[in-house]
């Protein structure tokens, strides 16, 4: 057991912490894409705090991959809630895929503008009829000369209303088994035949969309991997998404916020933290946050040292992390009582309405990114070696 990163890394930590100190008053607010956030992103890349390991020739900082340094950056930025640069599915999901499986031309064309925030992407995976069973998707692409012709519909497409491009799973080999008939295409969102309709969610914002394709024509070479290999390409990034939906660091910082809230809020003049029932619930959640934090340390250590016995520890993170966050945010609402109902503009609003927003948002994450029931299938099948459910046809009326 050794929890230190060593001397070399302490020097690196000082360096990052200096940057954070010097720039914490000059950063743009964490929020949507804007001129400020794009400028900030460029500054982060120049200093090696964003796109750190992406080669220079593709517009990154070009450092050797070092997950300890990446973690130190995220810890130091997290300490003061510093804006850590642009996120989004183009940066977090498509870029790693292109680096791994893209052609040299694709890397040259897409990576630099993507990581610099000049090219915004959305992800076209889920369909009305293909949710948990994503591989049954039916949006089809047929080759006509040098172009794919795409018809079908996607749903739950985040950022489609602002995206310049889409990376999209389409069925190109209708006669092949379902996992082998899918291809991974890239195309512009202003291509004729694309219609985007916003989908308002329970938080009353429209971060999702429905996207309709009618005879959308896309150049033949805008494919990642070969025809019929799209499922493997997509799976490589879905694994990445699941872990990132429930980071223990964020849970820890929300827990601190909750403790602060319970020390401030009162009922009949008594601080909520003095109420034994609420305190008991807080302590239970604190124990669970600690458990997930230590589980994360184990996973992190396994990544550094190449241990292989952590498969199960990794598989449970999305399930446990999202349920925990939903309960944590829900406790904050409960301790506020009717004040906890405040939303949008209201003089009694606490924390900018973040408790209600996250309470609902995390219910969305319990469902999204592979529902938690699908997570339990994965844990029991791949983690515990239990068999898959036998196939059953849907009942005919």
């Amino acid at each position: 057991m050794d929890l230190s990163f060593g001397k070399e890394y302490e020097e690196f930590r000082r360096e990052v912490s200096r940057f954070v100190e010097e720039n914490k008053d000059r950063q743009p607010a964490i929020g949507p894409h804007s001129l400020d956030t794009v400028t900030w992103q460029k500054k982060l890349i120049e200093n090696g705090y964003a796109a750190r390991t992406i080669p220079r020739k593709y517009g990154g900082f070009g450092a050797e991959p070092d997950i300890i340094k990446s973690r130190i950056i995220s810890e130091e930025f997290g300490r003061v809630q510093m804006n850590s640069g642009l996120g989004g599915q183009g940066i977090s999901m498509l870029t790693p895929v292109l680096l791994d499986m893209g052609t040299e031309e694709q890397k040259q064309q897409f990576i630099k503008p993507t990581i610099h925030g000049e090219m915004v992407w959305c992800q076209g995976y889920s369909e009305p009829g293909a949710g948990s069973d994503l591989a049954s998707l039916t949006t089809r692409a047929e080759l006509d000369g040098d172009e794919w012709v795409i018809n079908g519909q996607k749903i739950w497409t985040s950022s489609a209303h602002v995206a310049d491009w889409i990376f999209c799973l389409v069925r190109t080999e209708p006669d092949a088994p379902k996992h082998q008939g899918i291809s991974f295409l890239l195309f512009r969102m202003d291509t004729p035949g694309i219609e985007v309709r916003p989908l308002v969610d329970m938080t009353m914002t429209a971060s999702f969309n429905e996207v309709f394709f009618t005879d959308v024509r896309v150049p033949k070479d805008q494919i990642v991997g070969r025809r019929g290999e799209g499922w493997q390409v997509a799976n490589a990034i879905l694994g990445f998404e699941r872990g990132s939906l429930a980071t223990p660091d964020a849970a820890h910082s929300r827990l601190n916020g909750l403790i602060e809230l319970m020390q401030q809020e009162t009922i009949n003049g008594e601080k909520i933290i003095q109420n034994p029932q609420f305190r008991e619930r807080l302590m239970k959640i604190q124990g669970r946050v600690m458990a997930m934090g230590y589980n994360d340390m184990r996973l992190f250590s396994a990544r550094i040292n190449g241990n292989k016995d952590t498969r199960l520890a990794g598989m449970i993170v999305k399930l446990q992390g999202t349920e925990l966050r939903h309960e944590l945010e829900g406790l904050a609402i409960d301790i506020m009582g009717e004040i906890g109902l405040s939303y949008n503009q209201n003089p009694y609003l606490r924390g900018g309405g973040s408790w209600q927003r996250h309470y609902m948002y995390y219910l969305g994450l319990i469902i999204g990114g592979g529902t938690n029931q699908i997570q339990k299938n994965i844990i029991s099948e791949r983690g515990l070696g239990m068999p898959r459910e036998p196939k059953a046809e849907s009942k005919q009326e």
Binding site: M283, N295, N377, G383, L384, P387
Partner: protein
């Protein structure tokens, strides 16, 4: 950075598991639990492996390992529901006596497996049913209940000031009565003191606190092992039990029960490792982490012990399969040395959230 067990610690785990699988089968556990044989033979076998002296310095005849090694052992003993007084004799006594100093001889005889020291801390943690002890002028009066180990040679007794005393089992005026509990894999007893000689071990409350923190973490490790074994048994049973012409492991309802157990239990492994590390290296975090470790492990242990029993269907409820030995062991760990609710309240106090 290296979070987790080292190669040596994994080897230790493997060798103890092998020994317990070969030497302490469930049949053997049943014999001890049913009073047919005593636990002395098993304890002596473990002494030869160095387990009784795992926390005792080499200079006093022990192995001198760290707390993470001790947690590895505790987990193995829980996994095999081994009926031995590990917590009292091999964890609590060595921790308290080593910190207090001047007990080399006693530590040596504990390490060799000849001597067993029981523990009467219940009244210092939270007195029940009017049990209490008072000590003055080297004499102890009162009553301790649910004392760990009916067969010990002497007892560490803590009073309300968190001072620790040593009382000999054969001392004049001491009356010892066995108390049977649901958990027949470890014994408890009542001690009634009538002006009994008590030798002061430590009047430093910090010795009591560190000892109790250590005990709680080791007890949580025992629960981790017992719960892991129940989950393993549940999965194995589901893989062979057939209903409706299918193994029941192919039903999603059963799979999800097992997945929930695994999802709750897997982070507990890291919890135990981290908590054990605080004992050796992070004193400022130790007390809070110890409270949360036992509280969290016991909640998880309860969920796993209930669910694993359910996966076994009617067989889980029988003595034939014997799953109840694990269920009851986890149940006993939950109440002894502080229940989860008490521990969470203590965790709140440590952080200044409660008076």
């Amino acid at each position: 950075m290296e979070f987790g067990l080292s190669e040596e610690q994994t080897l230790l785990q493997d060798s103890i598991n092998r020994y317990l699988t070969d030497q302490v089968s469930l049949d053997e556990v049943r014999k001890v639990a049913g009073g047919e044989i005593s636990d002395a033979g098993i304890w002596q076998g473990l002494a030869e492996l160095g387990i009784t002296g795992i926390l005792i310095p080499e200079s006093h005849g022990g192995v001198g390992s760290g707390n993470l090694e001790a947690a590895v052992v505790a987990e193995c003993l829980g996994y095999h529901v081994t009926p031995v007084p590990f917590l009292s004799t091999a964890v609590i006594a060595p921790t308290a006596l080593t910190m207090a100093g001047n007990h080399e001889e006693l530590l040596g005889s504990i390490a060799s497996g000849e001597h067993r020291t029981g523990v009467a801390f219940g009244e210092a943690i939270g007195a029940r049913a009017d049990a209490s002890v008072s000590i003055s002028g080297g004499k102890i009066n009162g009553r301790s209940i649910f004392v760990l180990d009916e067969d010990a040679d002497d007892y560490l007794v803590a009073d309300g000031n968190h001072h620790i005393y040593l009382v000999k089992a054969n001392a004049r005026g001491l009356e010892r009565t066995g108390l049977s509990t649901v958990d027949r894999t470890r014994s408890t007893c009542q001690l009634v003191y009538n002006n009994v000689d008590a030798q002061l071990v430590s009047d430093n409350p910090q010795v009591f606190t560190v000892t109790l923190d250590t005990a709680r973490i080791m007890q949580a490790a025992d629960t981790l092992g017992a719960a892991q074994c129940m989950l393993d048994q549940a999965v194995a049973y589901a893989m062979q039990r057939k209903q409706f012409n299918r193994i029941i492991a192919s039903f999603q309802a059963v799979k999800h029960m097992c997945a929930e157990m695994a999802a709750n239990l897997e982070p507990c492994r890291s919890f135990i490792w981290y908590a054990s590390h605080t004992l050796d290296a992070l004193p400022e975090e130790r007390h809070l982490v110890a409270c949360h470790t036992k509280a969290h492990l016991q909640e998880t242990g309860q969920q796993v012990s209930k669910t694993a029993t359910e996966v076994h269907g009617g067989m889980g409820f029988t003595d034939l399969v014997g799953l109840h030995y694990w269920f009851k062991r986890i149940g006993a760990n939950r109440q002894l040395l502080g229940s989860p609710e008490m521990l969470r309240e203590e965790a709140a106090r440590i952080q200044g959230f409660a008076a």
